[in-house]
């Protein structure tokens, strides 16, 4: 779980980096910059969690780095609206993914409640699942906010919005599938 989230946040960071590289200096850049900073925070949290829980990072990390940058730069080249459409599509998939994880975490917690004083818990009364849940809930809300921002800045006006959205969402889902396993 942490592996795929870690990969996702690093990928998102690279997407925004790609978009900023192309759209530097335009008014859209400030909006993207703000979103990129939030993603940095998310990524930092997951880096810490990867070490704390001794998770194996995904072997496809260099691939996601490259693909994310290309996606960001590519959509930005198609115009500001396309960049926003990319953001909307990605954030939608990520929000759904976080929702799925939250459900799974709740189910895990119900099945085996962790005893107090678990070494991996943040605070003595917190199980690792609820600890993770807090972070994921907060991040999901942030991602939904990004999606709304994207929509507000004209994502739906992008050329071939539906097609672009579909392609990007499928790509993201495939990436999630792979990173969970590899």
């Amino acid at each position: 779980m942490i592996r795929v989230d870690h990969a996702g946040e690093i990928g998102a960071r690279r997407i925004y980096a790609g978009q900023l590289r192309v759209l530097e200096g335009t008014p859209a850049a400030t909006v993207i910059q703000h979103m990129a900073e939030q993603e940095e925070q998310h990524a930092a949290v997951f880096e810490r969690l990867v070490v704390q829980y001794r998770v194996r990072p995904t072997a496809l990390l260099p691939l996601w780095n490259l693909a994310g940058y290309m996606l960001g730069a590519g959509t930005a080249l198609l115009g500001r609206e396309a960049a926003m459409a990319c953001t909307v599509a990605v954030e939608e998939v990520i929000a759904q993914h976080y929702d799925d994880q939250l459900r799974e975490l709740i189910a895990m917690e119900k099945r085996e409640p962790t005893p107090e004083g678990h070494p991996a818990a943040g605070a003595p009364s917190q199980s690792p699942e609820s600890h993770l849940r807090q972070y994921i809930r907060q991040f999901r809300d942030d991602e939904l906010e990004h999606k709304d921002t994207g929509l507000a800045h004209g994502a739906e006006l992008a050329p071939a919005y539906r097609l672009l959205s579909l392609v990007i969402q499928t790509g993201c889902r495939a990436a999630i599938f792979l990173s969970e396993r590899i």
Partner: protein, 309 residues
């Protein structure tokens, strides 16, 4: 099952025998899977004092610790353990893949014990004094390269010295693990061990370096193992200091070998720190590594022909 039978009789069909009812009974726990029932019966038969059925773990543990040193990693050891516990020989079907499960149990046990000794109990008795003094310091108190090397050595020394009673039998153990059926499990254990060692030696990376470091350790482990078997001597060699109690292990050559492989500019160290700048002597690095591997295989082959296997 009682409910199902009553219902069945009431309905006048063989309802209690249909898959639906059996499934329901299984889920509700009233119908136990066969092997669990049988094992409690056998336990009653042996009159085992603990009152709990002996688990497979406990069986393997007793076999490896008590019978293997005399009889080797073989089915004779398994049979002797079954006899000791009063189980019929048919129970050896439990140990489905045969003596290799003893080897695998031992490896996991060794990993757990090393971890317990070094991390939880801070017990460094099995580690050479010189290595201990560096490895027990905090990471920021000494040169990172030296500290990492010391930590790697410390873990390996503890693990190998725990294995000392089985040194003569180790070629047999390796031969068992190298059989095609069992290599995948062996590899999994190897990667698990490499992961533990990397963590112990301070690896906290979250990117590709994670993989590079474990790829660097795994062959090191394999080669040292081969060297360790091959340098078994019946009498202590002349250049060892008899007064030092560590030398009762007779593995000084193995550690000299490991230190050579972990030499400052070696391939292993360069995989560990991919960003450190070294003078690049790429082709000769690989040649040196190949030469070391060749040496260790040659030593093992010599030992084999001398009749250890």
């Amino acid at each position: 099952m009682a409910l199902a039978e009553t219902a069945g009789r009431a309905l006048g069909h063989g309802w209690h025998e249909t898959r639906f009812w059996r499934h329901l009974a299984l889920k509700s726990g009233s119908l136990q899977p066969c092997f669990r029932k049988a094992s409690t019966t056998s336990q009653a038969g042996t009159g085992a004092t603990s009152g709990a059925p002996i688990t497979k773990e406990a069986f393997l543990e007793r076999c490896t610790l008590e019978h293997v040193p005399m009889r080797g990693f073989s089915s004779e050891a398994l049979e002797a353990t079954a006899e000791q516990l009063g189980l019929s020989l048919a129970w050896l079907a439990w140990v489905r893949r045969g003596p290799v499960e003893l080897v695998e149990w031992w490896r996991e046990h060794e990993l757990r014990t090393t971890r317990t000794l070094l991390i939880e109990q801070d017990n460094w008795q099995l580690v050479d004094l010189a290595v201990q003094t560096t490895a027990r310091q905090r990471p920021d108190q000494s040169d990172p390269v030296v500290w990492t090397r010391a930590r790697l050595l410390a873990f390996m020394q503890t693990a190998f010295r725990l294995r000392e009673p089985y040194r003569r039998l180790w070629p047999q153990a390796l031969a068992l693990q190298l059989q095609p059926n069992h290599t995948t499990r062996g590899l999994k254990l190897l990667t698990k061990t490499a992961d533990e060692i990397a963590w112990f030696a301070g690896d906290r990376s979250t990117d590709m370096a994670w993989y590079q470091r474990r790829v660097a350790i795994a062959p090191l482990l394999q080669m040292s193992e081969l060297y360790w078997i091959a340098t078994l001597r019946d009498a202590p060699s002349r250049d060892e200091d008899q007064s030092d109690e560590m030398n009762s292990f007779h593995d000084a050559e193995t550690w000299r070998f490991v230190e050579r492989v972990l030499d400052d500019n070696s391939l292993v160290m360069r995989l560990w720190w991919p960003n450190r700048s070294h003078s690049s002597r790429e082709p000769s690095e690989w040649l040196a590594m190949a030469q070391i591997m060749g040496e260790s295989f040659a030593a093992w082959a010599r030992a084999w022909t001398r009749g250890f296997l």
